[in-house]
């Protein structure tokens, strides 16, 4: 039972990495889109693409947290005590990101839009870094039950590398999705723009990963070994294959499937990490079985998960379907009957 919940947890992390990651990636490209004039069109696309779905994507994170504290309370406690600072910063980053994004759209003044946009974009860069650093801290075995907060738990080679990899992954996902969204919204010039960026992000990931190989060998010994043999290795290879297929698809400008392969690449990587950590939740001090909460609760968690799948699954499918078929469009000033106010310059 505990194993099942642990896999649900890995699944939820993977889902957040893919769904939430795409949104962080959009923010990343928002940051690099240049000045107000030059960045106008990419930003317009990012607004339209993220608008309807980012709140939904954020719920995956809530689900991860709930699974952690309900299913594995001891692990939750250990992680939040040891990695206090990066988690606190990530939380603040999330507030700034969401607020910046939510407030930018209804603003009609350039100066304010710049401000909200900058807040949104910068926190889109920092938040995934801190979340990645947290994963790195866990994977390198620096978190044990009773570890108190210290910089070593997250400011170490593995954490920094995972943080950078996370930024690379979200930038890659974001660019691939925006590339496809650009086609959907008929902004053909932006297709090439984001295609190039997707390829660059993928190249950056490869570079960071290559640097990471020797560094993590000693630093995150257990997970390194898990990733280089058995099922862990299999999933790493599958993830690599997905990444390669995505690159080929992008190079050949055939966009029909590249979203799915990009998502597969990131999701499979998370699963590879899950396999590499087995049987530990916190390598090499706390196993899944040791951390598991009361068995009655775990049983109910399975039920809650099933209900979620039955109820939320179709709703999610409906939302993504409507979104990708252009059924969803935000209200405009014409709809709500709004006139420009003094000082509005957009």
């Amino acid at each position: 039972m505990a194993d099942l919940i642990a896999w649900v947890l890995v699944l939820a992390v993977a889902a957040y990495a893919c769904a939430g990651g795409t949104d962080y990636g959009a923010g990343f490209w928002d940051l690099l889109a240049g000045g107000a004039e030059r960045g106008k069109r990419p930003r317009w696309l990012i607004d339209h693409a993220m608008g309807p779905v980012w709140e939904v994507n954020n719920v995956w994170l809530i689900f991860v947290l709930v699974l952690m504290w309900t299913g594995f309370p001891a692990m939750f406690q250990a992680v939040f005590e040891a990695l206090w600072l990066p988690l606190a910063l990530a939380a603040i980053g999330m507030v700034l990101r969401g607020a910046g994004f939510g407030l930018r759209k209804p603003t009609r003044r350039l100066a304010q839009r710049r401000l909200y946009g900058a807040v949104f974009a910068v926190s889109s860069l920092l938040t995934p870094f801190f979340l990645g650093a947290v994963l790195g801290g866990i994977a390198s075995g620096r978190v044990e039950v009773g570890t108190t907060a210290s910089a070593d738990a997250w400011a170490n080679p593995t954490s920094v590398l995972t943080g950078l990899l996370t930024i690379g992954a979200v930038a890659f996902l974001g660019a691939v999705f925006l590339c496809c969204d650009a086609r959907r919204f008929g902004a053909d010039d932006l297709v090439g723009y984001f295609r190039l960026r997707a390829l660059l992000a993928l190249a950056a990931i490869v570079v960071v990963a290559l640097i990471g190989l020797p560094v993590t060998h000693g630093d995150a010994h257990y997970v390194w070994h898990g990733l280089t043999r058995g099922l862990g290795l299999l999933f790493v290879l599958l993830a690599l294959a997905s990444g390669a297929v995505t690159a080929v698809l992008l190079l050949r400008r055939s966009y029909r499937w590249c979203r799915y392969t990009a998502v597969a690449g990131v999701g499979l990587t998370v699963f590879a990490w899950g396999f590499a950590q087995r049987p530990y939740l916190l390598p090499t001090s706390l196993t899944v079985a040791q951390a598991a909460g009361a068995s009655a609760t775990l049983g109910w968690l399975v039920i809650v998960t099933l209900v979620a799948i039955v109820l939320v699954g179709p709703a999610l499918v409906l939302l993504y379907w409507m979104d990708t078929h252009g059924e969803l469009e935000s209200l405009t000033d014409a709809d709500t009957g709004a006139a420009p106010a003094p000082g509005d310059n957009l």
């Binding site: 939904v56 966009y255 009957g337 106010a341």
Partner: protein
């Protein structure tokens, strides 16, 4: 109270009872919760109000009602974003501030949050479809897709309140020799004695608050002389909803108070500042509890507390002194909880008068009251309600001190080991961020209002209302210049690219 009390009050627990990080941790929790809770009434109840207005608009072909519903949707879009992010912070804070509680009790009471999580999923999906569906979906399809929204919101509240009521009346487990919970029965841990009273009182409070706040906005417009049908409808619908619920809330409040009396006697003693266990206990309206048990100030009404608690003067009310001094709220905390409680009850009663005033005028001449004073009061009612919601939570949370899990875990045992310096610094950052975010949020809302008012003042400038134009027609916001679509012959239809 159970024998665990004696166990936990042993000297070692006393020594460790106030680590330096406790104060900043509590302040941070209180601040972030108090901020989040201001948005919750709108998350829970604004969709329902909007759907009511939407229904009216569709049913009667009422253009004004549809315009209102659309504008409320635009507000909801911004409010929901802020609600989501402030809520996410709370989830993090469980780990950042209270790892001890989650580590020991997470598997007992955490499941409620599991329900909450998928309810939020549904809510976020439905709200996205509703908010972004105005333009392309068929009118009634759009309405029906939005209809489950209030249910999802109430489901989300279920999870949160289940967790909170468990903290107030924990059950569904037994303690082993080491004091750790075993034999968890989830059903009991979710449906605790306080759950029912808390849930209904809370749910009604949310609808009440959202109703009065929204109506208050139009009451202000009315007072400034904008007495058109738009303001009339925008005022009357939410106000009617709130006015109907006000007496209901009064009875629910009375009943939750009695549940507290039965299930959390020490909290009740704090709310009513009862020092010694006694019969024929007087009721104090406000007043301050001194450390020797005397009460300064306040209005004393003989016998009333016993009568309210058990319907007769001879009812025995448990006093604060019935448990050891470190097992109960301090006199300052009791005074805070007492004031919060009394303010809540006072405002609740005043709102009843306002609702009666409205009902009276409606029954007499089928019209809104004419008095400016009525609209002045209505304009304040929303703010007062938000204030009352804060008061209610302060009663609940401060009245439970020093327990985070009533009589099972102290707040000081749950708190993080992170140093107080880091926590104070973090609190400073959080306050700064929240002040900026909430300030910007309000500024954006006010700006939206200004734009709408300008458009309404010069109707021709804004063009015909969308209904006359192309109902729900596709009139997308134009692309900002450059590269027209076209050319892409190989583009697949639809978006399955």
């Amino acid at each position: 109270m159970p024998p665990t009390v004696a166990l936990l009050a042993s000297p070692p627990a006393l020594l460790a009872s106030t680590p330096a990080q406790l104060l900043p941790a509590r302040e941070m929790m209180a601040f972030t919760l108090a901020s989040h809770i201001l948005l919750v009434p709108f998350g829970v109840a604004l969709p329902a109000l909007t759907l009511l207005m939407h229904y009216r608009g569709l049913r009667r072909g009422d253009v004004v009602a549809l315009k209102l519903a659309r504008r409320w949707s635009a507000v909801m879009a911004v409010q929901f974003a802020i609600g989501v992010v402030t809520g996410t912070v709370l989830s993090f804070e469980f780990g950042l501030l209270w790892p001890g509680m989650m580590g020991r009790w997470g598997d007992v009471f955490g499941l409620g949050f599991g329900v909450e999580a998928w309810a939020f999923f549904l809510e976020a999906v439905l709200i996205a479809i509703y908010l972004y569906g105005w333009r392309r979906l068929k009118p009634w399809t759009h309405f029906w897709l939005g209809l489950p929204l209030p249910l999802a919101a109430l489901m989300g509240a279920f999870g949160i309140i289940a967790a909170n009521s468990w903290m107030n009346t924990p059950q569904g487990f037994t303690l082993d020799a080491a004091g750790n919970p075993t034999d968890v029965t989830v059903r009991q841990a979710v449906f605790t004695p306080m759950f029912g009273p808390e849930y209904w009182h809370f749910a009604v409070a949310m609808f009440l608050t959202a109703g009065y706040v929204v109506a208050g906005v139009y009451a202000v417009g009315w007072l400034r002389g904008r007495r058109d049908r738009y303001h009339r409808l925008g005022f009357a619908l939410p106000f009617t909803v709130a006015a109907i619920l006000t007496p209901v809330q009064f009875f629910l409040g009375d009943s939750i108070a009695r549940s507290v009396f039965h299930k959390q006697p020490i909290k009740f003693a704090a709310l009513e500042i009862v020092w010694n266990t006694d019969t024929h206990v007087p009721e104090y309206l406000f007043g301050r509890l001194n450390s020797d048990g005397t009460i300064s100030g306040g209005l004393k009404i003989p016998q009333l507390d016993s009568i309210l608690a058990g319907f007769k003067p001879s009812t025995q009310v448990t006093g604060l002194t019935s448990v050891a001094a470190d097992d109960r709220p301090t006199t300052t905390q009791a005074t805070i909880a007492h004031w919060a409680f009394d303010l809540m009850a006072t405002i609740g009663s005043l709102l009843i008068l306002l609702a009666l005033w409205y009902a009276w005028c409606w029954l007499r001449h089928r019209d809104l009251p004419r008095s400016r004073w009525f609209f002045r009061c209505a304009a304040i009612a929303g703010v007062a309600c938000l204030f009352t919601v804060e008061c209610g939570w302060i009663s609940t949370e401060v009245g439970r001190q020093p327990w985070i899990v009533y009589f099972n875990m102290r707040v000081s045992e749950a708190v993080t080991t992170t140093g107080s310096g880091s926590l104070w610094a973090m609190l400073g950052v959080v306050v700064a961020v929240y002040v900026a975010v909430f300030g910007a949020f309000l500024a954006v809302l006010l700006k939206m209002r200004t734009r709408w008012r300008l458009a309404d003042a010069a109707p021709d400038a804004a063009g015909p209302p969308p209904e006359l134009d192309t109902p729900y027609g596709p009139r997308g916001e134009p692309l900002p210049t450059a590269a027209a679509p076209g050319a892409g012959g190989e583009r697949p239809s639809g978006g399955d690219s």
